[in-house]
Symmetry: C2
Subunit: 233 residues, 2 copies
DNA sequence: TAGATTGTTAATCGATTAACAATC
DNA sequence: TAGATTGTTAATCGATTAACAATC
């Protein structure tokens, strides 16, 4: 039951998927470009060529030009890219000025750390409330954000037009709360729980699997250990 | 000046890089297998075929067999995979029983959250100390772990044979401390700082870029927004 | 204009999927 | 043995890199 398109053939597929959208690989590199451009700005560099940027970032100039051209003609032949302009444009793509409204669900260790960090402001997201079931937490203000009763989550999200939610809950609670958020019109979830969320929901999910990261690091260490042993005998 | 090998041709490259090691793509899927196997165990399922697991995980059976065969012959024709055995084997690859020793550097919001979380124990890593420059923190015990003076980091890591470090520091401090860790024989770093660490160091680095994750989620939301607008007009 | 550098097309490389012979 | 399912080889697909014509 594929819909409409599937025009096949005709159009070129440079870093694009079948519907002509930039590939996930390209998209996931955007924050890194954004970071490097911020660094350039802070060094007072106002203009850069794909090859100079490539050298800094340890990637190919080809990749940079391919990636950026997915989103617009940001450069100029014979000149390169205007750092300020490019930084601004990529920032827009990454929602910097979209004014998204967020809630944080689960005010445990990680939840409190995120509330106190300045991540949301820094990224142009407004965290309008936090939620927890623990009566000892409800009513407290953590990093400017008031903790509300978990039972009021759905109504709040609908009425306050919340765009996204940060899930800092145990795995089972996260799976339970995801459908509630979707039902309340929340569009996306930043998931810190050590589980995946149900697929059928109309939610964009970005996972932050801290446990996975630690395990991957251990893999890398132990595989270098193994190599060393092989070499030494 | 390519070294030695480059044997070219001869050997098959199923999910392997030039030196015959499993590809990064395959490696980065290991924690997810581990998680699904844990779920199977908790459901009392002791045996599973690649196709049944594939259905659960929403991947192809081919990919599962390719991935797993990189690390050994874990399955059995006509039977499938023994869940308990496979879980154990992947756990070993991910360092579950290697007894690695860690330090956490930077006892701010995120650092404290990680110390209080049970992540390290859960993953078989022993966090032996934390470090900070703030005198108000030095001497405190947070989640079983004592905070020591930042100045003693290098000597401590060398003497206590520390394997890995968790960096929960501001970006500039993280870049400064990385060479110190490398010099002290630390092998790997779990980097939470919003920067990349210097490349030339003999350190395995696993990045957890929380800011990036939030921005990527915003990208996804805003791109679905844009699509919706296009459709509606 | 001449030189530089982009955006884009074409070639290469690597990762995923399909097919199947080996084998429990 | 017959049926099931693996490990592996071959085919496909997608992403990266190289090359170059367009153009500032």
């Amino acid at each position: 039951m594929k819909s409409i398109d599937k025009v096949e053939g005709t159009f070129d597929s440079r870093n694009r998927d079948k519907r002509g959208r930039p590939s996930q690989a390209t998209i996931r590199r955007l924050p890194r470009y954004h970071r490097y451009l911020a660094n350039l700005l802070s060094e007072g560099i106002l203009r850069i060529s794909s090859s100079a940027l490539a050298e800094r970032m340890h990637v190919t100039a080809s990749q940079i030009r391919q990636d950026l051209s997915c989103f617009g003609d940001f450069g100029q032949q014979g000149y390169g890219y205007n750092v300020k302009y490019l930084y601004h444009k990529i920032g827009l793509l990454l929602g910097a000025e979209a004014g998204y409204r967020a809630v944080l669900v689960g005010v445990g260790n990680m939840g409190q750390a995120l509330l106190r960090s300045r991540m949301f402001e820094r990224r142009g997201v407004r965290c309008v409330a936090a939620f927890d079931r623990d009566p000892a937490l409800v009513g407290r203000i953590i990093g400017d954000v008031t903790v509300l009763d978990g039972d009021t989550l759905e109504v709040f999200c609908r009425e306050e037009r919340v765009d996204l939610a940060i899930l800092t809950l145990p795995a089972d609670a996260a799976r339970e709360v995801a459908p509630v958020l979707a039902a309340a019109g929340v569009q996306g979830v930043l998931n810190f729980a050590n589980t995946e969320l149900p697929r059928e929901l109309p939610l964009r999910v970005e996972n932050v699997h801290l446990d996975d990261a630690l395990m991957l690091l251990c893999y890398e260490i132990s595989s270098t250990d193994r190599q060393r042993e092989e070499q030494n005998g």
